[in-house]
């Protein structure tokens, strides 16, 4: 019996903030010696696209997200700019602006970018499985995704997940 520890993750979210947990946990698990697999389904497929610029963060309807500026003097950075949903929804480009600011904050804090973390996962031989059903449902083409992705369904996921020590749904 193979005694290597195993971890499986189901990644279902397609936003910049939610792209972090699967890639951070998978890359760390691989560094700790786990055989690791991520099953990307529904909006999680966005994380496998060659072009990751579609990953955004939205403060709309997200009261847990502090809106702070990633530049300027300390007192200015400390201000929280949270706005009512109704106003956010009326301002064009609010989501894009929030994404630009979030990416700057990530950089300022020495936190890896999503493309970097994804590459680290691939280097560490984390296996990426894309849900073929949602690829078709959303009208994606395999050519839109990075190389090295395998395509399968729920049964493919269970084949590995059934033997894991840790199994997470994100």
């Amino acid at each position: 019996m193979d005694d290597q520890k195993k971890m499986a993750i189901i990644a279902t979210k397609g936003t910049l903030d939610w792209a972090y947990p699967p890639f951070i946990l998978a890359s760390t698990a691989a560094a700790l010696g786990y055989e690791t697999q991520i099953f990307f389904t529904f909006y999680g497929l966005q994380m496998l696209r060659k072009d990751l610029s579609g990953l955004k963060v939205s403060p709309l309807g997200n009261p847990g997200m502090p809106m702070k500026m990633p530049f300027g003097p300390k007192w200015f950075r400390g201000i929280t700019w949270n706005m009512p949903n109704a106003i956010q929804s009326l301002v064009p480009g609010y989501e894009s602006l929030a994404t630009v600011l979030m990416k700057q904050t990530i950089k300022n804090n020495g936190v890896a970018s999503i493309p970097e973390l994804r590459e680290l996962c691939q280097e560490a031989e984390v296996k990426f499985i894309a849900c073929q059903m949602t690829v078709e449902l959303f009208g994606f083409d395999h050519s839109e995704f990075i190389d090295g992705v395998e395509y399968g369904g729920a049964a493919t996921f269970f084949e590995f997940a059934g033997e894991t020590d840790i199994c997470l749904y994100i």
Binding site: I24, S27, T28, A31, L32, G33, G110, V111, A112
Partner: protein
């Protein structure tokens, strides 16, 4: 403390110090000592956990100001 290789992980945040450390250890031979310098306060617990789970020995860890130094002996 004597060491064979050094890794500068200053300014990096979780999980990068651990991932870089793992990569640096891959280039070491068994018994060699890797020195890692980090500024991530979370790395204190993380390096202890990393050592415990991978079998690489954490020989010493020290804190000086906002810098944390670890000496890890490759399994």
């Amino acid at each position: 403390m004597d060491f064979d290789k050094e890794l500068d992980a200053r300014g990096l945040n979780c999980p990068l110090p651990i991932l870089r450390c793992k990569k640096a250890l891959n280039d070491c031979t068994s018994g060699q000592v890797l020195k890692v310098v980090s500024t991530d306060p979370g790395s204190v617990k993380d390096f202890a956990a990393f050592a415990k789970q991978t079998g690489n020995e954490l020989l010493a860890s020290a804190e000086a100001g906002s810098e944390y130094t670890f000496f890890i002996k490759k399994k």
